[in-house]
């Protein structure tokens, strides 16, 4: 075995990468401030007083001044690779040194971070061992993050030079990077939440308390069956989700049939409906329902007047949530089912008809069985969406408590019981994960989409008459209803006080978005500008990050083979099934204390968007990458380019439409998100959606609606611009794949 030439080559390439990360690590240790800065990540105030001010100093200065001496050992793993860097060494030795340096570095960095916190040692046994520390530390800042990256890539480079994935430094590095951030920002918070559910208020672990909290009557009670009281929140959520899932599936199917099988000329216009849930902040439908059916709602007043009844608050509670969720989520079911209905090969139906089957018989025996798995898929999506929905129940819930809002009230209300919130979040997570699991295991393998590769001639046969007319009727009624609801949203913003004084006015728009001129130039006087700009800034920062993470993940999933790829895929798609409220709670629990001290910053919002929208980026990337001929990559490799160059020069340029799609969608979704956001906003970083919710709670409907309308139009503009940029054909795919994440 004298494969020395290949050894030299791969260690030489590895050396370049290691040298780069060594330099970055040195910057992290010697130049950048080690701890997180009070004024936020993007502030440069630290240049004042740097480098001797303890709050802003880099690790090396702290150590030289005799402070935070526990940071000293970090220099060892950082410099260890110098042993192999500038001389010939065997590949085995090279990789062993790097793995030791990387693994020990990561381990020690996090160990010291978790061991020593704001109040000194975090654990009593450490205190017993080392005595009182008399010092403390804050969360990781620039320096620590850079050093963590250095150690991580030492480790992956070491593993790569062991020969893993053909010794490909870029691919192993990318896998390591994605696994680390998914572990840190998806699994770690969930684990923290689980552990906090297992603790009592003093922080002592106790299984019995967990069981007591978990089996509480308020969650699982069945009182509504026997007496006139409410059932447990878990049952409420479950019942609501099943009804909404079934109803949206049925409506979605009706729309899909009308759009593709009715010969109705404007059927394609129905597809515009699918854009609505993407650009509508989740509680806006709820607001419109209040305008229509609330105590002073148009319909309520009119019916009360005609029948001479006392107007009631009937809509608050189950009926209201149900209507709002059906309006919100039907387009999603439609989106899923239109693909399924179109996926049935016309030649199948034509074959059936040439075999003397009537239209109805064909539909019953061929078409419908082929779309059945699609129906199950749509139901599960509707189920997950309804479970996770936060905005509508918050606005319309009344006395009908559901899990997602109960979690919120457990944290923000008078209760402030994080343990209870964690327990409720676990219950909610159990439901959505079960549905997610069912969808993947059961339906993943059972696809009846009859694609044959060859272009299938022929056109879809029409629906049989006996279901055509019911479909038309339902679809028309629903379209009228949807249009009314959106009309209400626009109209509502121009009305003085809904239900009392219907004079048209610009008052609400002026309050929110007034612009004036004062001695400093343009002055944004409106009350909404702050949150509006923050939202734009955060959404615009999160969008490219989401696209990058999503596309790298998609690249690894489509183009690379490695052990544990199934788990890798499961981990990256998991955030699909984690409701926003659960993310919110778990982030608060996990990132409130050093070493990852992020609450109250803009970063935590950005991170939550990146990971909640990651499946969107991954799906867009997978869809467009599977259409790229694999031999393009291979040609590039055989021409002597490495995977990193191939990724940059060949794959990225060819994926431009997918990248744009991922950018626009993560931007838009970041603007409409509410469920996780409401836990994570701070006075400094207030987002548009949480500002609007605040106005709703004060019964300032006019302002809330005016602001929502503005948001809808901003997002509509973003999407239309994007359509213009990329052209319709390329966008339809990412569009159809994007809105499958839960609110």
């Amino acid at each position: 075995m004298s494969s020395t030439e290949s050894e030299v080559l791969s260690t030489r390439r590895g050396s370049r990468v290691v040298l780069l990360w060594l330099l970055i690590g040195l910057l992290g240790y010697f130049v950048f401030p080690w701890y997180i800065l009070e004024d936020g990540f993007f502030s440069f105030e630290w240049l004042d007083g740097y480098p001797f001010d303890t709050d802003y100093a880099p690790a090396a200065f702290l150590v030289f001044q005799g402070e935070k001496i526990w940071l000293t050992p970090l220099i060892l793993p950082l410099l260890l690779p110098l042993v192999v860097l500038f001389r010939q060494s065997s590949r085995r030795f090279f990789s062993t040194i790097l793995i030791i340096a990387g693994a020990s570095g990561v381990f020690y960095l996090f160990a010291q971070g978790f061991a020593i916190g704001i109040r000194g040692f975090n654990a009593e046994w450490l205190q017993a061992l080392f005595g009182e520390l008399g010092d403390r530390q804050f969360g990781f800042g620039y320096g620590a993050v850079l050093l963590a990256c250095t150690f991580l890539f030492y480790l992956t480079t070491g593993i790569a030079s062991r020969g893993y994935i053909n010794g490909d430094v870029f691919v192993v590095g990318a896998i390591g990077f994605i696994i680390s951030i998914v572990a840190l920002f998806i699994f770690f918070p969930i684990a923290q939440m689980l552990s906090s559910a297992l603790r009592d208020n003093e922080g002592v672990y106790s299984l019995s308390i967990f069981i007591a909290k978990f089996s509480e009557n308020k969650i699982w009670g069945l009182a509504c069956l026997t007496e006139n009281r409410g059932c447990g929140v878990a049952w409420n959520s479950l019942f609501l989700a099943i009804v909404v899932g079934a109803a949206t599936t049925l409506l979605g199917l009706v729309f899909a049939l009308v759009a593709t099988r009715s010969g109705f000329r404007y059927g394609n216009w129905l597809r515009a409906l699918t854009v609505l849930p993407i650009i509508t902040p989740p509680f806006v439908i709820g607001l419109a329902i209040i305008l229509l059916f609330g105590l002073s709602g148009t319909v309520t007043q009119w019916v009360a007047g005609v029948l001479d009844l006392q107007p009631t608050r009937w809509v608050y509670g189950l009926p209201g949530i149900m209507i709002a969720q059906m309006l919100s989520f039907t387009p999603i079911a439609f989106l899923v089912l239109i693909g399924v209905v179109e996926g049935v090969s016309p030649s199948m139906e034509e074959a059936s008809q040439t075999l003397r089957a009537s239209r109805w018989y064909t539909f019953k025996t061929v078409t419908f069985p082929l779309i059945r798995p699609g129906l199950a898929n749509a139901f599960l999506l509707g189920f997950i969406e309804s479970m996770a929905d936060f905005g509508n129940p918050l606005v319309l819930g009344g006395n009908y408590d559901v899990l997602s809002t109960e979690i919120f009230f457990a944290i923000v209300g008078a209760q402030n019981d994080q343990g209870r919130a964690a327990v409720l979040a676990i219950v909610l997570l159990l439901f959505t994960l079960t549905a997610f699991y069912a969808q993947r295991r059961w339906l993943g393998k059972k696809s009846y989409i009859t694609k044959t590769g060859k272009g299938d001639g022929g056109s879809h046969s029409l629906m049989p008459k006996r279901i055509m007319w019911p479909c038309y009727t339902i679809a028309s009624v629903w379209v009228v209803f949807t249009v009314t609801v959106y009309g209400m949203i626009i109209y509502g913003g121009f009305v003085e006080t809904w239900g009392l004084n219907h004079t048209l006015t610009f008052k609400h728009y002026i309050t929110t978005f007034a612009v004036g001129i004062n001695e400093f130039g343009i002055h944004f006087k409106g009350t909404a500008w702050d949150s509006f700009f923050t939202t734009l800034k955060i959404a615009a920062t999160a969008a490219p990050l989401t696209a990058i993470v999503g596309l790298i993940t998609a690249y690894l999933l489509v183009r690379q083979q490695f052990h544990g790829k199934d788990w890798f895929e499961f981990g990256t798609m998991l955030s699909f099934a984690i409701p926003g409220t659960v993310v919110g709670v778990s982030y608060i629990l996990a990132f409130n204390v050093p070493p990852l001290e992020l609450t109250g910053t803009g970063i935590i919002l950005i991170i939550s968007f990146v990971f909640r929208n990651m499946p969107v980026g991954v799906r867009a990337g997978i869809a467009s990458m599977s259409q790229l001929d694999k031999s393009l990559d291979e040609a590039s490799l055989t021409l002597g380019a490495n995977t990193w160059r191939t990724f940059r020069k060949v794959i990225l340029p060819l994926m431009r439409p997918a990248i744009l799609a991922a950018l626009v969608f993560s931007f838009v979704r970041a603007m409409t998100a509410i469920s996780a956001v409401i836990f994570l906003v701070s006075a400094e970083y207030n987002m548009a959606t949480s500002y609007i919710i605040g106005r709703v709670e004060n019964n300032d409907y006019g302002i809330a609606i005016a602001y929502s309308t503005t948001l809808i139009f901003v997002m509509l503009t973003a999407i239309l611009l994007f359509q213009l940029l990329v052209g319709r054909n390329q966008t339809s795919r990412p569009f159809t794949q994007s809105r499958t994440n839960v609110g």
Partner: protein, 363 residues
């Protein structure tokens, strides 16, 4: 111009007991050993699924061998990924980068291997000139015809002066007429620059036309290696005889073997053939369709097989006959197209003196 001329750095390729498995079930290449000499054009030929493309991809480094060693130019490259091997490949789909111009495509590998821009462009232009596409540099691949795209792909691989140049079914996306032309071009460039070329195809005529040697593969293993003439005239097995050109396989008796000459009895006909190491007893004889003659007049001769024309098909440059005989149905062709023997005519069947060949036992 002198320094931009392409030099040959052709090197040999050697497989030592190479096996490629996918998972535990599928063995795509099973314990294959082969050697391609420097400056030689060797074709991997076989039906689909025989392992020829996997073999090629293992030379390129796009697949890694599960067992065995691969040497290029004498040094071990078994564990080396594609990027680090001095091998270029021309793909079936050409795999031209659609977002780059022709010139950028040809420059790609040069830039990746660290050449500066000026040198790269100079070399790339020379490469385009070599394949007859000078002046097409600024076009996009989508603006070229299939044959032109194919030649760009060849130029892109050539300019790197690889130790080994690989072709994966390069002609399968071209129409029949163009195929012959491109085939000859590839052969011409290979001989002019004395390149080591490994070429994969499932088309036996293409293989016969371009190769110095052909490696016939079957079920993940090598069935036979030899020059085109050897394979066609001395097939080592029934499979090879039938895959390279068609062949009638006839059961015969070897009555005697004398100093390598076998006396073979086919019905009443006696033939004198190379024994190819066979002993007296029953054996199999391979006869090409154009080495069987039929005669509708002289049917009484003792040195012929009696037969009946079951089917006659006119295909333009020849007539194809199916003749029923006691030895089974024989397939033969006749270039005498002016006169067609009618179906159900009784005919005398005879064999060419040099055509028929005994087949060694299939092992």
């Amino acid at each position: 111009m002198n320094q931009s001329e392409l030099k040959t750095r052709a090197a040999s390729v050697e497989f030592q007991s190479v096996t490629k498995r996918y998972g535990t079930e599928v063995t795509a290449v099973d314990n294959v050993s082969l050697k391609v000499d420097a400056g030689e054009l060797v074709t991997l030929l076989g039906p689909s699924g025989c392992g020829k493309t996997t073999t090629l991809r293992m030379i390129a480094g796009l697949e890694m061998a599960s067992e065995g060693r691969i040497l290029i130019g004498g040094s071990d490259v078994t564990r080396l990924p594609a990027t680090d091997r001095d091998v270029s490949m021309v793909f079936q789909s050409y795999a031209l980068f659609p977002h780059m111009t022709v010139l950028e495509n040809v420059c790609y590998g040069l830039r990746a291997s660290g050449k500066n821009k000026k040198q790269s462009i100079e070399r790339a232009e020379y490469g385009l000139d070599l394949v007859g596409l000078a002046g097409y540099g600024s076009r996009l691949p989508s603006e070229l015809s299939g044959g032109q795209q194919q030649r760009v792909a060849v130029a892109r691989a050539l300019v790197l002066e690889p130790q080994v140049l690989l072709f994966d079914e390069p002609l399968s996306n071209l129409d029949a007429k163009l195929r012959r032309q491109v085939r000859d071009d590839i052969r011409e460039i290979q001989q002019r620059l004395s390149l080591t070329v490994v070429y994969v195809t499932h088309d036996q005529e293409e293989a016969l036309a371009v190769s110095d040697r052909i490696i016939v593969m079957k079920n993940a293993m090598i069935a036979q290696v030899g020059s085109p003439r050897e394979l066609y005239e001395q097939p080592a097995s029934e499979f090879v005889a039938d895959f390279i050109g068609e062949a009638n396989i006839i059961d015969v008796d070897i009555t005697a073997v004398n100093q390598g000459n076998a006396t073979v009895q086919v019905g009443e006909v006696m033939l004198n053939l190379d024994s190819r190491g066979l002993e007296p007893g029953s054996a199999k004889l391979a006869v090409r369709p154009n080495r069987i003659f039929i005669d509708s007049r002289n049917t009484a001769n003792a040195a012929v097989l009696p037969g009946v024309v079951e089917k006659a098909t006119y295909v333009g440059d020849r007539i194809e006959y199916k003749i029923g005989t006691e030895q089974g149905v024989l397939f033969c062709t006749s270039e005498t197209t002016d006169r067609q023997v009618a179906e159900l005519t009784e005919v005398a069947v005879s064999f060419d003196v040099t055509g028929p060949v005994l087949l060694p036992e299939d092992t």
